[in-house]
């Protein structure tokens, strides 16, 4: 079970079980009936995957089609001519580069803050005894799934009171106040053998030094998972930035997308061009670091 293994084990074994399946494959004789089964299953897989990628394909089609073409009579399953006019238009009329930069800045700050504090807290919960540990851990656990919509009015008033409404920080701090990484980190650190930490302690290293010099270098898979999931969550975040940002120079890409829809008639070709720009970085990260994303999803259960 993914839920009961540590991230360390998951990192080393292929969670999707490629190896085991290959073993079974070799063991089995591929009889006539077996081969027929493979063909049927492959056809089903192809059909399902075509349905799953189609919306993304459609985003590409609309983004690269001349204006309005997909809504004209008749089926237009691909662009009659590939055009960049939609991209040209949004870059001329809107500050797309700034929105992209805002997403990057906010994403980076939130990721750095969240991952650092979650690693520290996860380590303490895993390996230290201190007064109130279980109570605080339970409190963090209990509040982990609370959606921003439950407390957004209060958060808005808080951020206004602190004078950071409408600034980067107004988005960054409430977003970085997250607990889910604590659980991933804690689970991982529990799996680190006592001997390693004990050895460093006998050498006279303090807890912070042990953590930085001994534990963190062993935790690269964990850190990768935390960084990727936090960055993705922040990059795609919508509800809180929608509330916390007012000036369009500070918009992130998802808010920019909504703004673009409201400012144009709506011009769906432009919207899809911007949507493509906004999803592309995460798609690339996912394709490169798929293993880590999948481990993170499987462990955290949070989308």
């Amino acid at each position: 079970m993914a839920q009961t293994t540590t991230l360390l084990e998951i990192a080393d074994a292929d969670i999707l079980g490629e190896r085991k399946a290959r073993r079974i494959h070799r063991r089995r004789s591929s009889s006539q009936g077996e081969r027929k089964g493979i063909v049927a299953r492959t056809v089903i897989a192809i059909v399902v995957c075509l349905i799953m990628v189609f919306p993304l394909y459609w985003m590409l089609v609309v983004a690269f089609s001349p204006r309005g073409e997909v809504f004209e009579a008749g089926l237009h399953l691909w662009p009659s001519t590939l055009t960049l006019e939609n991209f040209d238009k949004i870059f001329r009329r809107f500050d797309v580069a700034t929105w992209f930069g805002n997403s990057l800045v906010i994403g980076t700050f939130v990721t750095v803050i969240t991952v650092v504090v979650n690693l520290l807290a996860g380590y303490a919960f895993a390996r230290m005894r201190f007064f109130g540990r279980n109570a605080i851990f339970l409190l963090a656990l209990a509040t982990m799934m609370i959606p921003v919509q439950a407390i957004m009015v209060a958060q808005f008033q808080l951020v206004s009171t602190l004078g950071i409404y409408g600034t980067y920080w107004g988005v960054i701090f409430p977003t970085a106040a997250a607990a889910f990484g604590i659980f991933l980190a804690r689970q991982f650190f529990i799996g680190i053998p006592d001997e390693i930490i004990e050895a460093a302690r006998i050498d006279g290293a303090g807890q912070l030094r042990i953590f930085i010099q001994v534990v963190l270098p062993l935790s690269k898979p964990l850190i990768a998972v935390l960084i990727l999931l936090t960055l993705m969550g922040t990059w795609n975040d919508f509800a809180w930035p929608l509330i916390a940002l007012k000036d369009n120079e500070l918009y992130t890409l998802p808010i920019g997308l909504l703004y673009l829809k409201n400012q144009t008639s709506p011009d769906y070709n432009s919207i899809m061009a911007l949507a493509l720009i906004s999803v592309l970085p995460m798609v690339i990260l996912f394709l490169v670091f798929q293993r880590y994303f999948v481990q993170g999803f499987a462990r955290s259960g949070i989308k």
Binding site: M1, E34, A239, A298
Partner: protein
């Protein structure tokens, strides 16, 4: 504060008969170190999560209509909830959305996991494609869905007409609007369900299927009697996670329907937003938020109770 030296610790451990002073000092140091480690995270959580929760409770007892100082109104906001038809409709829509999407998510997730756990060429590619929507933002997904489900001349209606069916009023009719949001939500979430079930399937020994085959069980019987019971823990985990996620569906509805037509796709979270930030009745919006909070806590509690070994202390 992080300089607990080895000799001190060794003493504290090995000589329990000695007066406890050294041990107490060591413990105190470890306690302080622990607090130092959780400190930064705790401050963030306290200020931006725990405090707003208490603040929201307070707000829910206030009337903040218009300008001027908020007025303490006791349980008025909650009394208003009970008699507000839109609140009940939003709660009903949330429940319908959850009851429809969660089983579909899980059934499709299990089916795909079984399919993609079997012998198949290019399996990795198929898995990647099914998981891919998970990294697409709700806003971008919603925008794509708006275009596909566009009532006049959207692709889906064109295809329906091309095969001789009637176009569907995805935007102006209540039920189709809800269905379009549900379809988009399943598209976004099915990959998650597949991942969890795949991980669950990895834990089933192939020998069990071997034994099933020898006993003459066909594929469906093997699925019913071996697969389904043995992925039970995954099923329960997914059930809770999907229910929580469905109760919180916001981006898709905000972008695709805005809660309309009428209030046909209004759910608790969008209704809370509407009251808090569009109608600007913040006290009433906060009261709806408290309802969402309590529901979420209840499901988190169930998850914790039944999954204690996973996240709890030693």
């Amino acid at each position: 504060m992080t300089t607990v030296t080895a000799p001190e610790r060794a003493d504290a451990r090995q000589a329990p008969a000695r007066p406890g002073a050294a041990r107490r000092v060591a413990r105190l140091r470890e306690s302080l170190t622990g607090w130092g480690f959780i400190g930064p995270n705790l401050i963030l959580l306290a200020l931006f999560l725990f405090l707003p929760i208490l603040w929201a409770v307070q707000l829910s007892f206030q009337d903040t209509q218009g300008f001027g100082d908020p007025e303490w109104v006791g349980f008025d906001n909650y009394a208003r909830l009970v008699t507000d038809p839109v609140f009940w409709q939003s709660l009903g829509n949330t429940i319908v959305f959850t009851l429809v999407t969660v089983p579909i998510d899980m059934a499709l997730g299990l089916g795909l996991a079984v399919l993609l756990n079997s012998v198949l060429p290019a399996r990795g590619v198929w898995r990647t494609i099914i998981v891919l929507p998970m990294v697409i933002s709700g806003v971008a997904s919603g925008m794509i869905a708006v275009i596909l489900f566009y009532e006049s001349n959207g692709l889906i209606n064109k295809l329906l007409e091309a095969v001789g069916l009637q176009a569907i009023a995805w935007q102006s009719e209540p039920a189709p609007a809800m269905i379009s949001v549900m379809i988009a939500a399943v598209w976004l979430r099915v990959g998650f369900n597949m991942i969890i079930y795949l991980a669950g399937l990895q834990g089933i020994s192939p020998e069990l299927y071997e034994a099933g085959r020898i006993d003459g069980a066909n594929r469906w019987q093997q699925f019913r009697s071996i697969t389904v019971p043995l992925v039970g823990p995954s099923t329960f985990f997914l059930l809770i996670m999907n229910v929580i996620a469905s109760f919180q569906v916001f981006d898709l509805i905000f972008v695709m329907t805005g809660g309309g037509p009428g209030n046909a796709t209004s759910v608790l979270v969008t209704y809370a937003y509407r009251n808090g930030f569009q109608i600007r009745e913040q006290g009433y919006g906060a009261a709806i938020g408290i309802v969402i909070l309590l529901i979420t806590l209840a499901f988190t509690f169930i998850q914790w109770k039944t999954n204690r070994t996973r996240d709890m202390v030693e």
